[in-house]
Amino acid sequence: MSAPPAAQTSRAPGAAFILKKALISAFVALVLFSLMIGVRTEAGPQGQLIYWTRFGDLAAMVAAVFGGSIIVELLRQWWGPVGTVRIVPPSVQTTLAVARRGIAPVLLVFTFLVPVLFYDERYILDLAILVLTYVMLGWGLNVVVGLAGLLDLGYVAFYAVGAYSYALLATNFGLSFWICLPLAGILAAFWGVLLGFPVLRLRGDYLAIVTLAFGEIIRLVLINWQTLTGGPNGVTGIPRPTLFGIPLTPADDGLAALLGIEFSPTHRIVFLFYIILALALLTNWVTIRLRRLPLGRAWEALREDEVACRALGINTTTTKLTAFATGAMFGGIAGAFFATRQGFISPESFTFHESALVLAIVVLGGMGSQLGVALAALAMIGGFELFRGLDQYRMLVFGMAMVLLMIWRPRGLIGHRAPTVFLKSNQAISSDLVKEGHG
């Protein structure tokens, strides 16, 4: 280490300091170990207490602590101040930058190839569909929480509205999946606006409580409005999606028969996989486009400072309502997909746990970062499956991993925010340079 020599001498503690520190450490070790190592107890044959002393071992331990303390101090002096400045070689920095830029396309290509690579592994395909559903939900909630900064704990309500919209429209009126998909989005957006109006003046904790209640209201209505929703029994026999009207069934007019290939149930799974992938990418594309428009910028400005927004003459009412509506619309579309994939839905699928999970994905991913949300969804849903072998310790390990992640990266996996207005040069600024607590 090439620390300036002046700093070295002024900081270096003298021999007296080192000795004092070593003596204190040795004393603490003596007190601690005198009973732990110095005295050994055991139960005798008749249950009486047998004990014997091991002062030799105790002395060795205390001496080791004393010597170790001196060595650590000397090493610290020789090494110079540690942890104040981290010097990353430029070569490592450029490699990291390339890796960061490359990760999104690599991930995207890999995702496209998943059905090809794992065609025979139904479990992985199902898991991939689940992950993509949560990626889409995460991207949808990201608009509300990540961009507009409106803490929404009832996002599952829109997921439920979308799912039930499709399920009821399809089973009652025989409408096809592709017609219901935009309808589910529109209905969910409508409910998003409906939730938005009463909470226009609320922020932070108060907003969170109202949205939480909203999610519960929707779930309770679904349980209790038996004539419409079937109550706790849910809706069964939800039709599967078709490819331009061609069903993916073993029947004579099915896709396999038309193409003259042998029918396999995996065809439908792969089809579902590409539907959710397309829907998720649509969500991503719309969000990225919106971020570059005045509306998207207004969302982000609203997250930063609502008073400043008003001072600039931004209509905060429409800004909030559009954020709620956009987020809800994507939630509703994901819900419709969920319904068609499951073929059966009931209120049990739309508990607060789902809202919390999606919110955790957004927060862990780094509020507002599209790539971060996708990675977090993969880590949360995939990781949860990964720990399946740990049985009852699964939640414990998982919770610990989340805590560690938030300590390690308090702004989420991708805390860095790409600017959307470019004037001359485009230069990203690391979130590390910005003080915490303003986001």
């Binding site: 982000e300 930063e304 001072a311 600039l312 003459g313 931004i314 207005v421 004037l423 001359k424 303003h438």
Partner: protein
């Protein structure tokens, strides 16, 4: 510059506003002519900021009338007032900390549907006034110094090409040298572009030296008005706002 000869750009008549039951403005009359710098001074809690915010539509006026360029804007929503090209730089700067300087400036232009050409000329104007902001363009707002943040807040307000610029305590929390730079910039804007400015300040000395005319506010009422130099000579002003406060 004579204020009485032409019709004022902004005319306020017996304006009242309140927060709940607490009356903050108790019948305020104030005129600003085009091309004028008007300073509004007064102690803490006199209602200066409230007056500025009421002009901007929030809180709403309880009674009285606000006219901008002959048009009644009492009770008009804030975002529509901004469309009339009244701009405000709020107290405490309130820039967007996680957004870049360029994005902060863009936010100022967004609310008034300005064209690409307007945006470019607006940027030119802001950078000519505050060259520091040009250097800091890609930096995040939160990483700027206090003075730079104030420059950004004023620049952001200028991006909407305002006809009336309202500044709330632009010297708040700034070192005297930086505060002087900010005041110089306001003077430049007024002299070169004929920009009309309403400035709310606690720093009465600076503000009155800068302004063509000044109003003194006490407990929600205008108690004194006159040209900046007139007010600076008044013994009661000197006693209340200058000798007790900061000396030059």
């Amino acid at each position: 510059m004579s204020a009485s000869s032409n019709t004022p750009l902004l005319a306020i008549r017996s304006l009242r506003a309140a927060y709940g039951k607490i009356e903050a403005l108790k019948g305020v009359d104030l005129d600003i002519s085009a091309g004028e710098i008007v300073a509004l001074i007064g102690a803490n809690g006199a209602g200066k900021s409230t007056l500025m915010m009421t002009i901007f539509g929030r809180p709403r006026a309880r009674a009285g009338r606000i006219e901008f360029d002959g048009q009644d804007i009492t009770g008009v929503p804030t975002h529509e007032i901004a469309r009339l090209r009244i701009a405000q730089s709020p107290e405490g700067r309130r820039i967007f900390p996680r957004m870049s300087v360029a994005e902060n400036l863009q936010m100022g232009a967004d609310a008034t549907d300005s064209s690409e050409a307007d945006r470019a000329s607006g940027l030119e104007r802001v950078f000519a006034l505050f060259p520091r902001l040009k250097e800091r363009m890609t930096q995040r707002g939160g990483t700027l110094s206090g003075g730079e943040q104030q420059m950004l807040a004023i620049g952001r307000a200028l991006m909407s090409r305002p006809r009336l610029l309202m500044l709330d305590e632009p010297s708040l929390g700034l070192a005297p040298l930086i505060a002087r730079q900010i005041f110089d910039a306001i003077r430049t804007l007024n002299r070169q572009d004929g920009l009309t400015v309403l400035i709310v300040e606690q720093n009465a000395n600076h503000a009155l030296k800068l302004a063509h005319r000044g109003y003194v506010m006490v407990n929600g009422l205008i108690t004194l008005s006159g040209t900046g130099s007139e007010l600076l000579q008044r013994p009661e002003i000197r006693a209340a706002y200058l000798e007790g406060g900061r000396r030059e």
